[in-house]
């Protein structure tokens, strides 16, 4: 997935804004989530700083924890693989599937899997992929990518889902109520769970001192994906480490509350190695693919804070821009504020430079982030890099340089603003300016109030002349 092959951000966001069904879908989910008020507790703020400190501690000792995890996972009987890039990660997974002779794999939702392009890679390798998370099942039928990291099918209305299920499910769902459609998916996917050769999951946490991986789901699809097949493959980013299960618990409280407003996911599972001798069920082999894909570089630069991200989705739920354009317009694996920080890391800044700019810097995302990531500051860093790399348009650059030149010469600035104000007043005699060619972005959608008179500086100077006591 490269951003360059797709239409630009502006075209994508315009299309999203013109799509009223998309807005309906986003609003319906958003309304219901607002109703499920955040499960905060009195100690939440302290828990939040502790959670951030845990992640910072892990990142500051990441090499140590990776080795510790590898040691313990290996001792539990799992096999640990390392992948520097998304291509390497996919190659490892596909080789493992082929070696196992698997024709069908089940997959439990993992954003890392999306990030490395695993769904497409499996497809090109001719391996049948069955997405088991309900939302992923929906977008697989639609041939799409997730538009939200917690609700991947947030962009689809109930009616649109019904259309997809009616075409694919045999028998089709009884009606287009959510309950009937969930029932239908349960039925259709049940048999596939039990006949897959490989089950692939992600990990919300990698527990260094046990070598276990942790998944959280509300549906129970992770357990059904990872238990019956002969092979369980985990793909996980190297930043997912935590020192121990207790540390994972401290973060779980934050993750789930920030993601869905509940206190804990219905299924929180620690997977530690393959089936043990005598175990009643479980996979024969467990493989864990540790994926770098740009993360080790982030440790060294100003984006290190982003490695704390626990992928809760709160920043996009509360983002005014996301609420209007949805996830697909961002054009990367991860949408919303966290996606605007991460996509330039994965795709490069040039094709994705709109993302850090398409933000009002209102700061709500940082306020709701459970691990205190200063998202607006990180977006600002990208803006700085974009400016220094000369990626801004020529008129923009010259305009800004000219403005900055004026701003540093107060008397010249005063003259220029005086002229500007008089010109605007001529255009806006009624008090409002309805159309202004060089500010069309403004006046296409709203009126511009006309300046009320001379500039403050002019008027102040005139008044001060009359009030010498002010000069003191």
């Amino acid at each position: 997935m490269t951003a360059t092959t797709r239409p630009g951000f502006k075209a994508r966001s315009d299309a999203a804004l013109a799509n009223s069904t998309l807005k309906t879908a986003i609003d319906r989910t958003a309304e219901r989530k607002r109703a499920a008020a955040l499960a905060r507790f009195a100690e939440y703020e302290a828990a939040r700083s502790r959670g951030s400190a845990i992640k910072d501690h892990v990142i500051a000792n990441l090499d140590h924890y990776l080795e510790m995890f590898e040691r313990n996972a290996t001792a539990s009987g799992a096999k640990v693989h390392w992948a520097a890039t998304e291509a390497e990660a996919c190659d490892i997974v596909i080789r493992l599937c082929r070696e196992a002779g698997a024709k069908r794999v089940t997959r439990s939702k993992s954003m890392l899997g999306e990030e490395i392009g695993l769904p497409d890679a499996l497809g090109s390798a001719g391996i049948e992929r069955v997405e088991t998370d309900l939302a992923e099942h929906i977008i697989q039928l639609a041939g799409e990518h997730p538009s939200h990291i917690i609700w991947p099918a947030m962009h689809r209305t109930r009616e649109q889902v019904a259309e997809l299920f009616n075409a694919d499910h045999k028998p089709p769902p009884a009606d287009d109520e959510a309950a009937s459609m969930v029932q239908s998916a349960r039925h259709v996917l049940r048999e596939k769970f039990l006949s897959a050769g490989v089950g692939i999951s992600g990990a919300n946490f990698l527990i260094a001192d046990t070598g276990a991986t942790c998944t959280v789901t509300n549906e129970g699809n992770a357990e059904l994906t990872t238990t019956p097949p002969r092979l369980h493959i985990v793909t996980a980013g190297i930043e997912k480490l935590v020192p121990s299960t207790s540390h994972a618990m401290a973060l779980l409280r934050l993750l789930v509350r920030a993601a869905t407003g509940s206190e804990l996911t219905q299924y929180t599972t620690f997977h530690c190695g393959p089936k043990r001798p005598g175990d009643a069920d479980g996979p024969q082999e467990m493989h864990i693919v540790l994926v770098d894909n740009g993360r080790s570089e982030m440790i060294a630069n100003e984006f290190r804070d982003m490695l704390r991200c626990i992928r809760c989705g709160a920043c996009m739920n509360h983002c005014v821009v996301y609420r209007q354009i949805g996830g697909h317009a961002y054009g990367g694996t991860y949408p919303g504020p966290m996606g605007a920080v991460l996509t330039p890391v994965f795709d490069g800044l040039a094709p994705s430079r709109d993302l850090p700019f398409a933000c009002t810097m209102n700061g709500r995302c940082a306020e709701v982030c459970p691990v205190e990531i200063p998202l607006p500051m990180l977006l600002r860093s990208w803006r700085g890099r974009s400016w220094r790399a000369g990626l801004e348009s020529e008129p923009m650059r010259t305009g800004l340089v000219a403005w900055a030149g004026l701003a540093r010469r107060p008397s010249l600035y005063r003259m220029a603003s005086g002229i500007g104000v008089r010109a605007l007043r001529l255009l806006g005699r009624s008090g409002w300016i309805g159309s202004l060619p060089f500010a069309a972005g403004w006046t296409r959608h709203r009126d511009l109030p006309s300046p009320t008179g001379g500039t403050f500086m002019e008027r102040y100077k005139a008044e001060r002349g009359k009030r010498p006591e002010d000069r003191r």
């Binding site: 005014v320 209102n362 803006r383 107060p410 104000v421 709203r446 511009l448």
Partner: protein, 255 residues
């Protein structure tokens, strides 16, 4: 340093107030004087540098920042009638100049004594306006920078509550961004419009006659949208109301 009970404050007018609505600047002077301050307006000021800052042009921003620091460091306080300019001076400048041995500490010192006007009046000057009366109803929008970078929330509400006959009405999503975002609104006009349209819906739903906020940029955005929709809601900067300007022309009304 002047007598501590009568601080000497430098008013940072902001470029938008300077050009578009000087009344806000004069309201600021009136309130600050009423609150026992000696107010001066240094002439070596233009803008806080946000257009460059938000565009990633850190070099130009730093140059503007140095100019602001030099102009305002003689004063006891820098007071500004805008949360977003105050935020830039308080948080942006020190971050931007952190590695500059000379200007870093000077930026930090200025940040210390920079205040958004309403929080200054309430938190530092313990100010309550004299008898004020204004018939009608108003609703208040929390501008983002003031709310999140500076923690301004209760102060304007407390001062507005002292105005006789003014009924304050709740605003749905009062803490949700209006879609202005400085350059954002002209770079991504369609997205900005979708956001401000929802804001205008909420303002109209509140049923208030007036919309108040503490940042002229946001106010121009919301007022401009409301006017385009044909709404009769009148928009003012909070300090215009507190300085007794509620009977005068609102944003966009002919004087």
């Amino acid at each position: 340093m002047t007598d501590a009970s009568r601080p000497r404050v430098g008013l940072f007018v902001t470029c938008l107030v300077d050009a578009m609505r000087p009344e806000i600047g004069f309201a600021a002077i009136r309130l600050l004087e009423d609150a026992g301050c000696d107010v001066e307006v240094p002439t070596r000021q233009t803008c806080c540098g946000q257009p460059a800052y938000n565009s990633g042009d850190d070099v130009s921003t730093a140059a503007v920042a140095r100019q602001v620091i030099a102009a305002f460091e003689p004063f006891d306080h820098l007071i500004v009638p805008s949360g977003s300019c105050a935020g830039t001076i308080q948080h942006g400048y020190p971050a931007l100049l952190a590695s500059d041995a000379e200007w870093g500490p000077r930026a930090a010192r200025l940040a210390e004594k920079t205040h958004e006007i309403i929080s200054y009046l309430v938190d530092i000057r313990n100010y309550t306006p004299g008898r004020l009366r204004l018939e009608g109803s108003a609703t208040y929008h929390d501008s983002c920078a003031g709310l999140r970078e500076l923690g301004i929330h209760d102060q304007p509400r407390r001062l507005l509550a002292t105005v006789d006959s003014l009924e304050m009405r709740p605003l749905d999503g009062e803490n949700v961004c209006c879609g202005f975002g400085g350059m954002f609104c002209v770079k991504y006009p369609a997205i900005s419009n979708a956001i401000v349209d929802e804001k205008a819906d909420a303002v109209e739903r509140s049923g208030a006659d007036m919309l108040l906020a503490g940042d002229l940029g946001c106010l121009m955005n919301m007022a401009g949208k409301l006017n385009r929709r044909g709404s009769k809601v009148r928009c003012f900067h909070t300090i215009e109301i507190l300085a007794g300007g509620g009977d005068g022309p609102a944003i966009g009304e002919k004087s």
